[in-house]
């Protein structure tokens, strides 16, 4: 028994060191964002700033149009999340609760499209969006989400299949239509699953870099990730402390999600991996 306890303690120490290493980049980001430009370039680097230059944050916010980029990112992430949750739930209902000929084949094809890498469709999508006249706007980054997405259809369909048919049949006998059932029964029942799907989609869109890079060329429409990379390539190596301040500000929303909803995200990974439930 004693030997076991020691073993456990050693493992906890190793894991704690691992966590410290994992958290170090974030510590470093914050520390560097608070240094003066003189202290920044010092070698050896100071592990803790001599004076906290909170003014770096104020400077950053003006230096790059931070609030504009923040708003753009928030708009894209929110709009695409709302659309994706509603549409995927709607479509998942059609796959889970309506028995129609050809359903299984169409579902299999849907899953097959998950195999198509974004890299392959990136060029034609650009040309398509150009033809739609979407390229001068944020539309390429959120409208497609209103037409559901294979991962979420799969995930929500699993969830809906767990809702007993008797519940639905009773309502059907009372004359409720499928649309009514979806809106009034299934949608409220699936709130936890929708929260998980929404969180993942929001975080994914908040983080995304490649799609904004390809589809957005107007600087006024830049997202935070795009703005950061533009700022870096324009002023690379010069104003690093401002860049780090902007990086910290960009990370804050995901940190908030992490603190309040990491439980949901972790549950979600369990379910989407298809290994459970």
């Amino acid at each position: 028994m004693g030997k076991n306890k020691w073993g456990k303690l050693i493992i906890i120490v190793i894991l704690a060191i691992g966590v410290a290493i994992f958290m170090f980049p974030f510590y470093w980001m914050v520390i560097e964002s608070l240094k003066s430009s003189g202290e920044f370039m010092k070698m050896p680097p100071t592990l803790f700033p001599k004076a906290f230059h909170f003014s770096n944050y104020a400077e950053t916010v003006n230096y790059i149009p931070f609030f504009r980029y923040f708003w753009n990112t928030l708009f894209i992430s929110s709009m695409s999340t709302i659309g994706m949750v509603l549409s995927s739930s709607f479509v998942a209902y059609g796959f889970a609760k309506v028995k129609w000929p050809g359903r299984e084949i169409v579902f299999a094809i849907s899953l097959g499209t998950m195999m198509i890498p974004f890299m392959v469709v990136m060029v034609p999508l650009y040309i398509e969006f150009k033809a739609f006249g979407w390229l001068g706007s944020l539309k390429p980054l959120w409208i497609p989400s209103w037409f559901a997405n294979a991962w979420n259809i799969f995930f929500l369909r699993q969830f809906y299949r767990g809702i007993p048919d008797e519940l639905m049949d009773a309502a059907r006998i009372d004359g409720a239509s499928h649309f009514h059932l979806w809106a009034k029964v299934v949608l409220p029942l699936s709130k936890p699953a929708l929260v998980v799907a929404a969180l993942f989609h929001f975080v994914f869109n908040w983080k995304d870099f490649l799609a904004p890079l390809v589809f957005i060329s107007n600087q006024k429409l830049y997202t935070l990730s795009l703005g950061l990379s533009f700022f870096q390539s324009q002023h690379g190596g010069v104003e690093w402390q401002y860049l780090m301040a902007a990086a910290v500000l960009t990370t804050i929303p995901t940190m908030i999600i992490f603190f309040f909803a990491s439980k949901y995200l972790i549950e979600g990974i369990h379910i989407t991996s298809g290994l459970k439930g």
Partner: protein, 297 residues
């Protein structure tokens, strides 16, 4: 009989009503672009004038293109060297986390997962800073340990390991999947092995690994597909350099398409990538059939 076809027709209408948005999205945003991409790959297309059919020329040029060969080599380097190392780390950490019990593990698990939520651009910028050869903290630590420090992203040899080092920070998702699988391994198996006097290593290799092999397969397939499309971190940190040492196929496609407007050539490169991903996924699933252990049901 007639009634049955009648209801099934009605159901078909209702079904299509629900699935409709997806069928439209699938066609417009997936299937049509997928087909178009194949068509463009057989043409010369600069966006400024309509595509001109050139047959398989793009593909022939690709394999003669030194830059593309380098991009393929670099991408395989990340998939075959970097990715297995990060997966191994995820597996080891998951086994350690599992061994300390659900209660104490939760906090650690969340901490390991956190970097996965941070935008790739932010991670990349932080890495550029930490691994800066002149004033970066990383080389400062190394010099304290008496290790002469490489130039990392300024050195064609060390740039790839630098990117791989960064990718360790993204293993949280894999860890969570391994933990879920570990939780499902029946305790009786370990108990029986313990009674037989089996060592810890024996138990891990003979019980744990086979029992969680479906999770290993899942993480391998998903992670491999993602690594083949590696883009953001090398694009931000090095732009593919120095000396093309971190140029991935993803960056090659992007550059060809949106910097040089070689839409056809870029599409051909994308199709080469797709075929590689598809073939290797197929191969992995095929090979795993005899190895991966699925419990009944």
């Amino acid at each position: 009989m007639k009634r049955r076809t009648c209801t099934s027709l009605r159901n078909l209408r209702i079904g299509l009503f629900f699935v409709g948005p997806w069928l439209i999205g699938l066609t417009v945003f997936n299937i049509v672009p997928f087909m178009l991409s194949l068509y463009y790959s057989l043409t010369n297309y600069s966006l400024l004038s309509p595509p001109v059919w050139t047959g398989f020329n793009n593909f022939r040029w690709l394999f003669e293109d030194e830059t593309f060969r380098l991009a393929l080599w670099n991408t395989f380097y990340f998939v075959l060297i970097g990715f297995p190392l990060t997966q191994l780390a995820a597996l080891v950490l998951a086994i350690m986390l599992h061994s300390i019990g659900e209660k104490s593990m939760k906090w650690f698990r969340a901490a390991y997962y956190f970097p996965g939520l941070v935008p790739g651009v932010v991670m990349a910028l932080t890495w550029m800073l930490m691994m800066n050869p002149n004033f970066g903290i990383f080389n400062f630590f190394l010099s304290k340990l008496g290790i002469s420090s490489p130039l990392w992203f300024d050195d064609p040899f060390w740039a790839k390991p630098g990117i791989i080092l960064l990718s360790f920070w993204y293993i949280g998702g894999s860890i969570i999947i391994y933990l879920a699988a570990l939780k499902d391994v029946p305790v009786e198996l370990y108990e029986a092995a313990s009674l037989d006097g089996a060592s810890m290593w024996y138990r891990i290799i003979k019980i744990t690994i086979p029992m969680i092999s479906p999770a290993i397969l899942f993480n391998t397939v998903v992670g491999m597909i993602a690594t083949f499309q590696l883009f953001t971190e090398p694009f931000i940190i090095t732009g593919g350099g120095p000396d093309y040492s971190t140029l991935t196929v993803g960056i090659f496609i992007y550059n060809q398409a949106f910097r040089f407007l070689h839409m056809g050539y870029a599409s051909a490169a994308a199709w080469v990538l797709f075929v590689i991903i598809f073939a290797l996924t197929f191969l992995l699933l095929k090979i795993s059939k005899g190895i991966v252990y699925y419990r009944g049901g």
